[in-house]
C-alpha cells in the first residue's frame, strides 16, 4: 500500500472518493507520521488525534451512506495556532494564552469542519505571528525538515514544516507580511496569501487587521486552489470580507498545469531583486523566467519605485495596529493572569504583571513601537506617513498591472538560515519579508511555489503576485511553473529533501 502521507491532498481525495482508502486510515497514517517526526520537527503545539479520528469516522460513515461530500472531505488538515478552534487550545504561540480554549470557531474553521476535514492539530508559530523564523514561539522552535538546524520560516513555520514533513497534506497559514509565503519558500512548499478580504478573518487572532489574511499551505498548487476555494468567499461576520464569488481557482490551476502560458504577460519587479538576494536565489529565479518564457509567457520588466519604502511603512502600520489589537490580553477575562508579587492587586497592576510575564520580547518591542507611532504629536509623522506610503505602493501595483498580468520575484532573499542566527538582530530578521510585504500593504494576492535548490542545497521560492480579486492568475501561473519544473526534475522538489530520522 502506498504511503498515504506522501499523497497530495487532491490525490488522497480521489482515493477517498473511490473508496480505495478510508478517512480513518488516512488520518491515522498522518497521526502516526506526526508521532514519528514531531520529536525532530516540532511543527505542532497541540495534536487533536481523538477529534480528528472522530471526524474521519463520521466522514467515512457519511460516504458509506452515499451522502454527497465535499471534494476534500476526509483529507486531514493542520491549522495554525492563531486561528480559534472551538474546544481546541489556541495560544497564538504566546504564553499569555496558555490553556485558553476558545468557545467558538473561526469562520474558516467552520467551513473546514462542515466539509469534513479532520483537524490534526494546531501548528507552531512566532508569537502572535511576529517573526520570520518561528523562533519567537513561546513553546520552542520548529525545525526545517530540510535541515533540522535551520529555521522553517515564519511566522507560520509550523504549518509549512508540517506539510513539508508529510505530517499533513494541507495546512492553514496566515500572512501579514509574508508568513505563509516565506515559510513556503524555505521549506519547499506552496503557500498562498489570498486577496485581502477573500478569506474571512473572523476568528483569526488579529496581528494587524488591515494586513492579515489566512490562506492555504500545501505541497502542490492544485491543493492550494482546492483549499482556498473551501475557506474563501464572503462572510458577513467580517466587515472587510469581499461580497463577491471567488474566481475559479481550481479551474485556473488545472489550466495552468497544462504548461501553456501563451499571451500571459509576466512582469519582473526591478526593485525585488539584486542586492541582498542570494546568488543561488537569483539564479533559480532567472531559470524559472526562462521556463515561463518557453511556455509562451511574455516577460516584461516593471518598476515599482516606492517598494523601497514598504518595509519602513509596514513596521509602522503593523506595530500600530498590533499595539491596539493586543491590548485585550490583560488577564481580566481569559488566558494567563499574573498578580503582582508585591503591593495591591489592582486591575492596572494585574494587567501590567500579566502582560509583562505573558508577552515575549518581540511582541513587547512591537507594542512599544506601535504605541509610540500612534501617540499624539507623532501620529502624523509615523502612522500617517506610513499610510501615505501604502497608497503610493498601491499605485505602483496599479501601474505595474497595466503592463503585466502577474508580477514575479523571488519569495525570500535567502534560503533558510540557521536557528539563532538572526535572533539578536531584528532588522536582519525583518529583511526576510522585503519581497512579500508589498502585497500585504496593497491587499493583492501572492503565491510562493518552490523553484529549486540554491547553492547550499536548500529550497528557494518563486513569488507570483496578481491584482486584487484576480487570485486565479496566481494559480494558473503557479501551476504552470510547477508543472514545467517538475517535468524537468522528474518529480516534486520535496522528493529531494532528506529523509527524516524516524524513530520507530
Amino acid at each position: 500500500m502506498t504511503d498515504l502521507t506522501r499523497l497530495s491532498a487532491a490525490d488522497l481525495a480521489d482515493k477517498l472518493a473511490a473508496g480505495d482508502v478510508s478517512s480513518v486510515e488516512a488520518t491515522q497514517a498522518h497521526l502516526d507520521r506526526i508521532a514519528a517526526v514531531e520529536p525532530a520537527v516540532h511543527a505542532f503545539l497541540h495534536v487533536s488525534a481523538d477529534e480528528a479520528l472522530a471526524t474521519a469516522r463520521d466522514v467515512d460513515a457519511r460516504r458509506a451512506a452515499g451522502e454527497e461530500l465535499h471534494t476534500l472531505a476526509g483529507v486531514p488538515i493542520a491549522v495554525k495556532d492563531i486561528i480559534v478552534t472551538k474546544g481546541l487550545p489556541t495560544t497564538a504561540g504566546s504564553r499569555i494564552l496558555e490553556g485558553w480554549v476558545p468557545p467558538y470557531d473561526a469562520t474558516l474553521v467552520s467551513r473546514i469542519k462542515d466539509a469534513g476535514l479532520p483537524i490534526l492539530g494546531k501548528t507552531n508559530m512566532d508569537e502572535f505571528a511576529m517573526g520570520s523564523s518561528t523562533e519567537h514561539s513561546a513553546y520552542g522552535n520548529t525545525h526545517n525538515p530540510w535541515d533540522l538546524d535551520r529555521i522553517p520560516g515564519g511566522s507560520g513555520g509550523g504549518s509549512a514544516a508540517a506539510v513539508a514533513a508529510y505530517e499533513a497534506p494541507l495546512a492553514i497559514g496566515t500572512d501579514t507580511g509574508g508568513s505563509i509565503r516565506q515559510p513556503g519558500a524555505v521549506t519547499g512548499t506552496v503557500g498562498v496569501k489570498p486577496t485581502y478580504g477573500s478569506v474571512s478573518r473572523y476568528g483569526l487572532i488579529a496581528l494587524a487587521s488591515s494586513l492579515d489574511q489566512a490562506g492555504p499551505v500545501t505541497r502542490t498548487v492544485l491543493d492550494s486552489a482546492l483549499l482556498h476555494e473551501l475557506i474563501g468567499g464572503h462572510d458577513p461576520r467580517d466587515s472587510t470580507s469581499i461580497d463577491e464569488p471567488l474566481p475559479g481557482l481550481v479551474a485556473a490551476a488545472r489550466q495552468g498545469a497544462t504548461g501553456d502560458l501563451a499571451g500571459v504577460r509576466v512582469g519582473v519587479v526591478r526593485e525585488l531583486q539584486g542586492e541582498g538576494y542570494q546568488p543561488g536565489v537569483l539564479a533559480r529565479f532567472e531559470e524559472s523566467l526562462d521556463l515561463l518564457r518557453q511556455a509562451g509567457a511574455e516577460i516584461v520588466e516593471v518598476s515599482c519605485p516606492h517598494f523601497g519604502y514598504a518595509l519602513g511603512a509596514y513596521y509602522l502600520i503593523l506595530p500600530s495596529e498590533a499595539s491596539s489589537n493586543l491590548a485585550k490580553f490583560d488577564g481580566m477575562r481569559f488566558g494567563l493572569r499574573v498578580e503582582p508579587e508585591d503591593g495591591p492587586a489592582t486591575a492596572e497592576r494585574v494587567m501590567g504583571a500579566t502582560r509583562g510575564a505573558g508577552f515575549g520580547d518581540e511582541v513587547k518591542r512591537r507594542i512599544i513601537l506601535g504605541t509610540y507611532a500612534l501617540s499624539a504629536g507623532y501620529y502624523d509623522a509615523y502612522y500617517g506617513s506610513a499610510q501615505k506610503v501604502r497608497t503610493l505602493i498601491q499605485r505602483d501595483f496599479a501601474a505595474a498591472f497595466e503592463q503585466a498580468d502577474v508580477l514575479v520575484s523571488p519569495t525570500a532573499p535567502t534560503t533558510a538560515f540557521k536557528l539563532g542566527e538572526k535572533l539578536d538582530d531584528p532588522l536582519a530578521m525583518y529583511l526576510n519579508d522585503v519581497a512579500t510585504i508589498p502585497a500585504n500593504l496593497a491587499g493583492v494576492p501572492g503565491l510562493s511555489v518552490p523553484n529549486g535548490l540554491s547553492d547550499d542545497g536548500l529550497p528557494v521560492g518563486f513569488q507570483v503576485l496578481a491584482p486584487a480579486k484576480a487570485d486565479d492568475r496566481l494559480y494558473r501561473v503557479g501551476a504552470a511553473l510547477e508543472a514545467l519544473l517538475e517535468a524537468q526534475w522528474g518529480g516534486p522538489l520535496l522528493d529531494r529533501a532528506p529523509e527524516l530520522e524516524v524513530g520507530k
Binding site: 486561528i83 480559534v84 489556541t90 497564538a92 494564552l97 485558553w100 476558545p102 468557545p103 467558538y104 473561526a106 478573518r201 473572523y202 476568528g203 483569526l204 487572532i205 488579529a206 494587524a208 487587521s209 488591515s210 458577513p236 461576520r237 467580517d238 466587515s239 472587510t240 500600530s320 495596529e321 499595539s323 491596539s324 491590548a327 485585550k328 490580553f329 490583560d330 481580566m332 477575562r333 481569559f334 486591575a347 492596572e348 494587567m351 504605541t371 500612534l374 501617540s375 499624539a376 501620529y379 502612522y383
Partner: protein
C-alpha cells in the same frame, strides 16, 4: 464620600459677576434589538454576562460588524437636531486600559462623526426659545459595568474585589455634543435642564430609545466655565460626569457656578478636571485631573469599513421622521385653543398624550384638560404618582364625559363615577350602574319629591306662585337633597314651576 467643605458664592451673586458658559455631552443608549457591533441582544436587567458574544466580550479573533439599525437611529437623531449627515464616516479606536472595556479600546467615532453642525431650539419654562448649537452626534459602544465588592462605599477604593458585567458592553450609543452654550446668563441651569429634557422627548418621539433616565439610558456630562463678562475669553472648564436626572443637571450647573465663583473670587484658578455629581448631597467633588497628556491614540478602526449613508436613504429617513415634540405642541395648542399658560401647564404635567388620547376618545379639548389638569392632577399629587400612572385611561375619561354630555349624569355624579373608576370598579358605565348614580329622569319620583317639598313649605310655594322666583332655589335644593343628587336640576326647576302654575 468626600467630606470636604467648600465655600460657595450665592448663586445670584455669582451670576451677577460672572458669565457662565456651559457645554453638554449627552449619551443616549439606542433601543436596537442587538448590540452596536454584534448580534448579542441589547437588553436591560438580564443575569450578568449572559447578553454577550465573542465580539462584546472582546475575545481573540472576534470582529465587529456595524448594526445598520443603529446607523439609521443615529441619522434620525442627527436629522432631528438639524445636523448635516456625513456622506462617509469612519469608526476609530479609542485606546485605554480599563476592565469594563473588553478590548481595552472603545470603538467610537473620532474625527468623522455621522452627524454634525446642527442646532436644537429649547423651550424654557416661560415659553422663551433658546437655540443650542450642536457640534456633532456620533456613534459609539457602551462599556460594561463594574461592581466593587467589599469596603463600605461601593467605590473602588477599599473594595476587596470587583466584578464586571459585560451585558452593557457594546450597546449602541449616540453621543451628542453641543458647542459652548453662551448667552444663557443666569438661566444657564434652566437652559441645561431644558436642553436635556428636550433631547429626551426627541429620543422618545423618534422611537430610537426608551430614554429612561433612571435606567441610565440617557446620561449627561455637563461642562461649565465662568468668565468675567460675555466678552471675555472662555474660562477653564470642569466636566461633571454622569448627571442622570433633569433636576440634577440644573442643580449641578448651579453648584458649579457657585463653586467656581468662589475659587475665582479667592484669586485661584479653576482646575481642569472631571467632577463627580453627588445626588444625595447636591455637590460635585473632584475626580480625575484632565491633563492634555491623556492620549487615547485614536486611529481608524481597521476592522470596519467606512459607513456611507446614501443621500436617498437619508432623505427616506427624513421623510419618515415623526413630528417632533415642540412642533407637535405648537400644533396641538392651535387645534385645542389653549392659552399659552394653559398649554405650559399641560406640558409640565406631562399630560399632552393623555389629553390627545382623551380628545381622540370623543371629549372636547376643554373637557379633557378639565379632567386631567383638575380632579386627576389633584389625585395624582395626593397619591404622589405620575398622571399617566393613575389607573384610568383616556378612553374612560372620554366615556365619562360622554355620560355628562348626554345628561345621564351631572358634574357632581361624574366625580363619584371617576372615584369608582380609580378604585377599580370598572368602566364609567359599569360604575354608574353598580353605584346607581344615574340622573333621575323619570318625572314620577321627581314630582313626588316636589310635592312633598312644597307641602312641607307652603309659605315658599305661595311666594313663588305670587311671582317671586327668589325662593325657587331653596325648593330645588331640597328636592335634590331628597333625591340624593341624582336629579337634573334644570328639570326640577321646570317641574316646580309647572306644578305651581297648575294650582
Amino acid at each position: 464620600m468626600s467630606t470636604q467643605t467648600v465655600d460657595l458664592v450665592d448663586y445670584d451673586e455669582a451670576v451677577r459677576r460672572y458669565d457662565p458658559v456651559i457645554g453638554i455631552e449627552v449619551h443616549v443608549e439606542l433601543g436596537t434589538a442587538t448590540k452596536m457591533f454584534c448580534p448579542a441582544p441589547a437588553v436591560f436587567g438580564e443575569e450578568p454576562n449572559t447578553s454577550v458574544s465573542p465580539v462584546s466580550l472582546g475575545l481573540p479573533g472576534a470582529l465587529p460588524v456595524v448594526n445598520g439599525t443603529a446607523v439609521e437611529y443615529a441619522i434620525r437623531i442627527g436629522l432631528a437636531l438639524n445636523c448635516q449627515i456625513a456622506e462617509s464616516c469612519r469608526f476609530a479606536r479609542k485606546n485605554y486600559f480599563y476592565p469594563d472595556v473588553p478590548k481595552n479600546f472603545q470603538t467610537s467615532q473620532y474625527d468623522e462623526p455621522i452627524a454634525f453642525d446642527g442646532y436644537l431650539d429649547v423651550e424654557l419654562d416661560d415659553g422663551e426659545i433658546f437655540r443650542v448649537q450642536i457640534e456633532r452626534a456620533h456613534m459609539e459602544e457602551d462599556a460594561g459595568k463594574n461592581t466593587h465588592v467589599g469596603g463600605s462605599t461601593g467605590r473602588i477604593q477599599g473594595a476587596e474585589y470587583s466584578l464586571v458585567d459585560y451585558n452593557r458592553a457594546g450597546i449602541p450609543l449616540v453621543e451628542i455634543v453641543t458647542r459652548p452654550i453662551e448667552g444663557a446668563g443666569e438661566r444657564a441651569p434652566e437652559v441645561a435642564r431644558a436642553y436635556v429634557q428636550t433631547l429626551r422627548d426627541i429620543f422618545r418621539a423618534l422611537g430610537v430609545s426608551e430614554a429612561r433616565m433612571e435606567r441610565g439610558n440617557v446620561r449627561a456630562d455637563v461642562n461649565l466655565s465662568l468668565r468675567p463678562t460675555p466678552e471675555s475669553v472662555l474660562g477653564t472648564r470642569t466636566e461633571t460626569k454622569n448627571v442622570n436626572s433633569f433636576r440634577s443637571v440644573e442643580r449641578a450647573v448651579r453648584y458649579e457656578v457657585s463653586r467656581q465663583a468662589a475659587v475665582l473670587d479667592a484669586g485661584d484658578t479653576v482646575t481642569q478636571e472631571t467632577r463627580h455629581w453627588h445626588e444625595d448631597t447636591g455637590i460635585t467633588t473632584a475626580g480625575r485631573v484632565k491633563s492634555d497628556a491623556e492620549d487615547y491614540r485614536y486611529f481608524p478602526e481597521p476592522d470596519l469599513v467606512p459607513v456611507n449613508p446614501s443621500r436617498e436613504w437619508v432623505e427616506e429617513i427624513r421623510a419618515t421622521l415623526p413630528e417632533l415634540p415642540a412642533a407637535r405642541r405648537r400644533r396641538l395648542q392651535g387645534v385645542w385653543g389653549f392659552a399659552d399658560a394653559e398649554m405650559r401647564d399641560v406640558v409640565n404635567a406631562g399630560a399632552i398624550e393623555l389629553i390627545e388620547a382623551t380628545v381622540a376618545a370623543g371629549a372636547s379639548p376643554a373637557a379633557a384638560r378639565k379632567w386631567w389638569m383638575g380632579e386627576l392632577a389633584r389625585t395624582a399629587k395626593t397619591q404622589e404618582v405620575e398622571l399617566g400612572d393613575l389607573p384610568i385611561t383616556p378612553a374612560q375619561i372620554g366615556q365619562l364625559q360622554a355620560l355628562v354630555d348626554s345628561g345621564r349624569i351631572n358634574d357632581k355624579l361624574a366625580r363619584q363615577v371617576l372615584e369608582g373608576v380609580l378604585a377599580g370598579e370598572g368602566d364609567p358605565e359599569q360604575v354608574v350602574v353598580a353605584r346607581g348614580l344615574e340622573v333621575v329622569s323619570d318625572d314620577g319620583p321627581l314630582l313626588e319629591a316636589i310635592d312633598a317639598t312644597l307641602a312641607a313649605q307652603p309659605d315658599l310655594a305661595e311666594k313663588i306662585r305670587s311671582g317671586n322666583q327668589g325662593p325657587i332655589g331653596a325648593i330645588i335644593g331640597a328636592v335634590m337633597k331628597a333625591t340624593r343628587g341624582q336629579a337634573d336640576a334644570g328639570r326640577v326647576r321646570e317641574l316646580v314651576l309647572e306644578r305651581l302654575s297648575e294650582g
